[in-house]
């Protein structure tokens, strides 16, 4: 499994809506993740790649399977373990993965429509119109 495939699989647990994404939205999400990663120093990118390997294989110790072969409930339990891990570096690593997936999903320019978030250059006009209702 490539790093990208693992990220896509993780994205489905972090943002469930992303699991059903295909075509252009999915490509957009991955492109944003790639760009965000590329902007970080090489050492951080290496650490990220290493952390993904740990994330994938650590569940083997408890469930005898890598993360991507677990059922969704167990995947979530494993991810929560990383999120709440007693070791700060592990929590930070998971925070980084989560943040990257969020940047991919919620950073898409047209995501606002799905979130009831549609800002306007003349927001006050909308505001005033609503207050008159």
């Amino acid at each position: 499994m490539t790093q990208r495939q693992l990220l896509v699989s993780l994205a489905g647990r972090i943002v469930p809506e992303s699991a059903s994404m295909a075509g252009s939205p999915r490509a957009q999400m991955l492109s944003l993740i790639d760009e965000a990663l590329a902007a970080r120093p090489p050492v951080m990118r290496r650490q990220f790649g290493l952390f993904l390997i740990v994330l994938r294989w650590a569940p083997l110790l408890r469930y005898l399977r890598p993360l991507d072969r677990l059922d969704p409930r167990r995947q979530d339990a494993a991810l929560r373990w990383f999120q709440d891990c007693p070791i700060q570096a592990v929590r930070s690593g998971f925070w980084g993965v989560r943040t990257l997936i969020f940047i991919g999903y919620y950073g898409r320019p047209d995501v606002g429509r799905d979130l009831a978030y549609v800002p306007a250059a003349d927001g006050n006009a909308v505001l005033h119109a609503r207050s008159r209702r």
Partner: protein, 502 residues
């Protein structure tokens, strides 16, 4: 390397550098060649698209997510013609007398800062929004605070022609925010100051600056062609912000003579809390930040501010993931938000360093007192949300994703002190301060009370890095006041600086 000659070089064009540029511009009439070197570009009006990730990438260092060394906190600071004034919300408060007393800088009085601050409040068209321009998100914050008896006040804002796009932190698409990019820099240029954008200063040498100009593919072209430059100057004013300025001075091998360099960094560590209302409210239309609550500043060390953020920033600020997280995100028009800021102590160990490549590294430990303040702030915010009618609250340190309104009287229990887990909870800062603090001696400070670097009469600092401790309020007006003071010193010293250099 190309050589350039100037008289005064100002590094940075934000609240500090932009102010210094305009305050020093009158010297151009006497022939002083003044150059501002800004790392970021000058954006064209049509480039403020409001698209979150695109603008964050272009406007902020590390997309606004500059990580501390232990990765427990991110720091946001801008990089553009106008620096962070392009991306702030324009909240214009003046520093209080007790804060300046706590700073304890001999020769620096509150009266002096206040007088200068007033000048910039006028220059930047600071005023209060009318009630018609205040959206539900802000109004509910104010109502919630009042119902609880918390002291709450309206933010004075530096706007002209605000149309309520709500995109202040991504650069105003309507050009309404009166940052240095709108007010001080254009005026300075009119008087003869040259501004060179896309110009990163690599190091400072004896009365000279080594810098590199690059093109970024967006924004206006730099006034200078891409390449490496050595710019000789008779006076150098460093205003690269509380991360950039100490890192630059460290790259310039000044640490040996200035043991306090980079130290005593403070940053108002902050969290975002989000509540859900039963029905849609107006939140992303209108100015995002109209009120603040300083009720607990003295007793518990925190401030609350109304706020509204964009999808990615909001998603990142919520703790957790999965279905609950998605449900909350799926109805952003029902969200009310509060930003909590801790008033953090100035500790020598909290510092800016430079790595082997000269890039800034921030070592910052979140003190136990700051953690207590943040948890107390989350509890107070949850009460404000419920007092304002929210049905459920997400507090990052809560033991559950949601605190339901039925549990409004159990907020303390739901937000335990040990719930603030570093590395799990998103903690961010947009107010880095210190690192080149003012003071009396080189042992515990970098500059004197007028921003002159100890022992180097030609080198000055004029930005938030001067703060000896945190500002305890949104700091930009105070930065401008201090930069104005530094510029006055440079003007006063100018005949000597010019004579000594020649």
């Amino acid at each position: 390397m190309l050589d350039r000659d100037a008289d005064i070089v100002i590094i940075g064009s934000g609240a500090g550098g932009g102010t210094a540029a305009n305050a020093l511009a009158p010297l151009c009439r006497d022939g002083a060649r003044t150059v501002v070197l800004e790392e970021g570009p000058k954006f064209r009006e049509d480039e403020f698209t409001g698209r979150e990730v695109e603008m964050a990438k272009r406007l902020y260092v590390d997309e606004g997510g500059f990580l501390t060394e232990d990765r427990a906190m991110t720091i946001a600071f801008g990089r553009a013609y106008g620096g962070s004034t392009v991306v702030y919300t324009g909240t214009s408060l003046t520093v209080t007398e007790p804060t300046v007393r706590r700073w304890g800088v001999p020769g620096l009085s509150h009266e002096d800062i206040l007088r200068r601050s007033q000048k910039y409040l006028e220059e930047n068209h600071v005023h209060l929004l009318t009630p018609a321009d205040i959206n539900d998100n802000n109004r509910l914050f104010e109502e919630g605070c009042r119902r609880l008896g918390y002291r709450v006040a309206q933010f004075p804002l530096n706007l002209r022609g605000c149309r309520g796009a709500g995109l202040c932190n991504l650069g105003c698409p309507n050009g309404a925010k009166m940052g240095t990019h709108r007010v001080q820099l254009p005026e300075a240029e009119r008087q003869g100051v040259a501004v060179v954008t896309n110009c990163r200063v690599d190091r400072i040498e004896e009365r000279a600056v080594v810098a590199t100009v690059t093109e970024r593919g967006f924004g206006e072209r730099s006034a200078w062609a891409p390449g490496e430059y050595r710019i000789r100057a008779k006076a150098i004013v460093v205003a690269g912000g509380a991360i950039g300025s100490p890192a630059l001075l460290l790259r310039s091998a000044l640490a040996a003579r200035l043991p306090a360099l980079g130290r005593y960094l403070t940053c108002h560590p902050a969290l975002i809390l989000v509540a859900q209302h039963e029905r849609p409210i107006t939140n992303y239309h209108g100015h995002p930040k109209s009120y603040y609550c300083d009720h607990f500043a003295d007793s518990d060390g925190f401030l609350l501010e109304s706020c509204m953020y964009f999808p990615f920033t909001t998603a990142k600020s919520l703790t957790g993931f999965g279905a609950e997280h998605s449900r909350m995100m799926s109805a952003m028009d029902r969200l009310q938000m509060i930003l909590v800021l801790a008033i953090d102590p100035a500790e020598a160990e909290n510092r800016v360093m430079a790595d082997a490549q000269g890039r800034p590294v921030v070592r910052y430990a979140i003190a136990d007192g700051v953690r207590r303040s943040l948890v107390a702030a989350m509890r107070a915010s949850a009460r404000v949300f419920f007092a304002a009618g929210a049905t459920r609250v997400h507090a990052p340190a809560s033991s559950r994703f949601f605190i339901e309104a039925a549990d409004a009287d159990r907020v303390d229990e739901r937000i335990p002190f040990d719930g603030l887990t570093l590395g799990k909870v998103t903690i961010s800062s947009a107010h880095p301060m210190g690192g080149c603090r003012m003071g009396a001696t080189p042992a515990d400070s970098v500059t004197d009370a007028w921003g002159q670097v100890h022992g180097l009469p030609w080198l000055f600092v004029a930005d938030a890095s001067l703060f000896p401790r945190c500002a305890e309020i949104n700091p930009y007006v105070t930065i401008m006041a201090l930069a104005d003071r530094v510029a006055e010193r440079v003007r006063r010293e100018w005949p000597h600086l010019r004579a000594n250099a020649s």
